[in-house]
Symmetry: C3
Subunit: 271 residues, 3 copies
């Protein structure tokens, strides 16, 4: 699988996929910069009048619910449907789902109208999507579902929505409903920076925009982010969170096949 991930990165760097983001205004700059750093080309556009045109020319479409409202929800659905018609992969990040009724309804509306190729969230967000209940302590919520078997949840969610599901946390778990990958890369300090989840989702968008195998693309994105977090922490820990934030972008920009081979830490299993 290392070779597949190395190839996936090379594809991103060579094809320079156009990643159309409909995303939140909190972490959007980081999402654009990380897409550029991995080798993609980001475009952010959410006017209902243009999302059809923009999604049509994109290599992938990222729907991130972070600061969703009525206007942008409608644009996300239009962009997502357009991508579906054209066979362009859609990556969905249900930020904060479980926290408010509106957020819940919005996520379920998107999932009912748009076929998503990849869903990425934390355990509490994905839990909600599976159970349509659960509670979150806001967007960066810690999971109180410790007694829940997260791996089973991820596999079930993948089978429910017939897509790849990526659950990020201390250990990342990715499944397409059959295969399961656990990724051990990353550093706990990443949760002290806003947007590391959103950046993961943008990386998935970039990888999926340049690779047909969305499962490998998603694993590659999460391993890329995890490795970048580890290397950035090593180099910036003396300085602190502001420099760590910049360090993550540094390391994504320097990522290459050799670093992936040296640093990737994961398990593969069939479920």
């Amino acid at each position: 699988m290392i070779q597949q991930m190395q190839f996936a990165l090379k594809q991103v760097q060579q094809k320079r996929p156009l990643v159309h983001h409909l995303t939140n205004y909190v972490t959007v700059n980081d999402c654009a910069n990380i897409t550029l750093a991995i080798g993609g080309s980001p475009v952010m556009a959410d006017a209902i009048e243009e999302v059809k045109d923009m999604a049509s020319m994109a290599s992938s479409v990222v729907l991130n619910m972070g600061t969703i409202n009525k206007r942008t929800l409608a644009s996300m659905i239009t962009a997502g449907k357009t991508a579906n018609q054209k066979g362009i992969p859609v990556v969905f990040d249900p930020v904060g789902v479980g926290a408010t009724r509106y957020r819940n309804e919005s996520a379920l509306e998107i999932l009912s109208k748009v076929t998503c190729d990849v869903i990425r969230g934390n355990a509490s967000e994905l839990c909600f999507l599976l159970e349509r209940k659960s509670e979150t302590n806001g967007v960066d919520a810690a999971i109180n579902a410790q007694d829940y078997d997260i791996q089973t949840m991820v596999v079930n969610l993948a089978n429910t929505f017939h897509c790849v599901v990526a659950c990020t946390g201390a250990i990342d778990i990715i499944s397409d409903g059959k295969k399961v990958i656990k990724i051990y890369n990353g550093h706990k300090q990443m949760s002290a920076i806003t947007g590391t989840g959103c950046m993961c989702t943008s990386l998935i968008g970039a990888y999926c925009g340049a690779n047909d195998d969305t499962f490998i693309a998603t694993c590659s994105a999460l391993i890329s982010m995890g490795i970048a977090g580890e290397l950035a922490y090593e180099k910036t820990k003396q300085q602190g969170l502001g420099h760590f934030h910049m360090g993550i972008l540094d390391e994504i920009g320097k990522l290459d096949a050799q670093t992936i081979a040296q640093e990737a830490k994961y398990d593969e299993t069939e479920y």
Copy 2:
């Protein structure tokens, strides 16, 4: 008071307050990151459909008028009223008030409908709120109210709105209408970074979300920001403004009881 501020910081780090922000799209990333860096948990959400739910579960609500519009003004008022009903502290940042009629009307509408626990602004913004006139040279306006006694203005404003008022500038002045604290921490270079005011407000939100005494919470937040600015300037002055910006987040993330004791510079008086 040092011990009270040390305790206030510890409370933030232990309680990890959820700070619901309705804020501008210019400095929102910094607001989220500084909330995380001090130990809080930021959530940004401004859809009218969800702000009641989000504010209800928050530890504090921050209303920042930076890029206000009709849609977000309505959401701010709803979020603020909800917080009032639930006894959740509301921190108000009347960014740029005095600059345009719309901004003036919006600030006064918020203040008439929402009981704010803390108001933070620069002298020209607070002047306007007190006098309902004054002129600003835009958002980062220098005060031409030099002949005005700022301390009296802050005390009067605190008594007018029955809340804590924090006026930030070369010297920060905080009052609850009786006690007055002057804080001498900070560095003039901080005004060359956008959002240092907004970041202060977010820190106040984090401290108020974890502490019952809003006066101590506000003083702690401003001293935290001032100390971070000083330490960051020392470490990054050779490099420049971009690194100074990151340095502020570095230092907030490293702040501890000892640093507060060593670095805090302030005067207390009764008015």
Copy 3:
């Protein structure tokens, strides 16, 4: 011309022009910070209810189409018209024009209703404005108009809209319809950071807000950005893209007359 550019910088630092931005939510923080770093005072406001008031008191108005929508398009037109009535310079950045029909119509609507003093874009964007056709591969599009003579295009566009046109790329070309300046400063790594184009536009806004000669102001802004990119790259290349991003802001903040004299690389010609 070096002396004129040195004078232009001094004017920015002394007059501290208020640059009213109506801009996108992706790069807005960088736009504000670079405006501060060069010595200006940024204000971001896009509510239709206040843009007349804000534009009226501004030294210059920047219209950046990055994440335009119906609401902000109307505000841009109102702000632009207000600036025209008051004789305040308007700088237009038609981000991504050519990519979608809505973006094309919006750009042409702005240009038909607002007299722009400066238009800045990349070759594909400016090509579209001239030809009203052309194709872009999204916002950061590479130009497939290699066989097109960009200099002729810039001159023609300047004559068509009776304004200064700045085309940024490997070589920057600026014309007022008669004079042409080519700027060789900059580093190719700048295109791996989102918003270097937007930041250029904000610098043009700051220079035009403090100088009557918009041609010199525009050249000064692009040379400032190019020099900052080169110096930042030298200092941060070991670290990577995140630090390079901060480095650009560092260098703009340290720019002075001597650095301009030492580092500026350009040609002047009459067309």
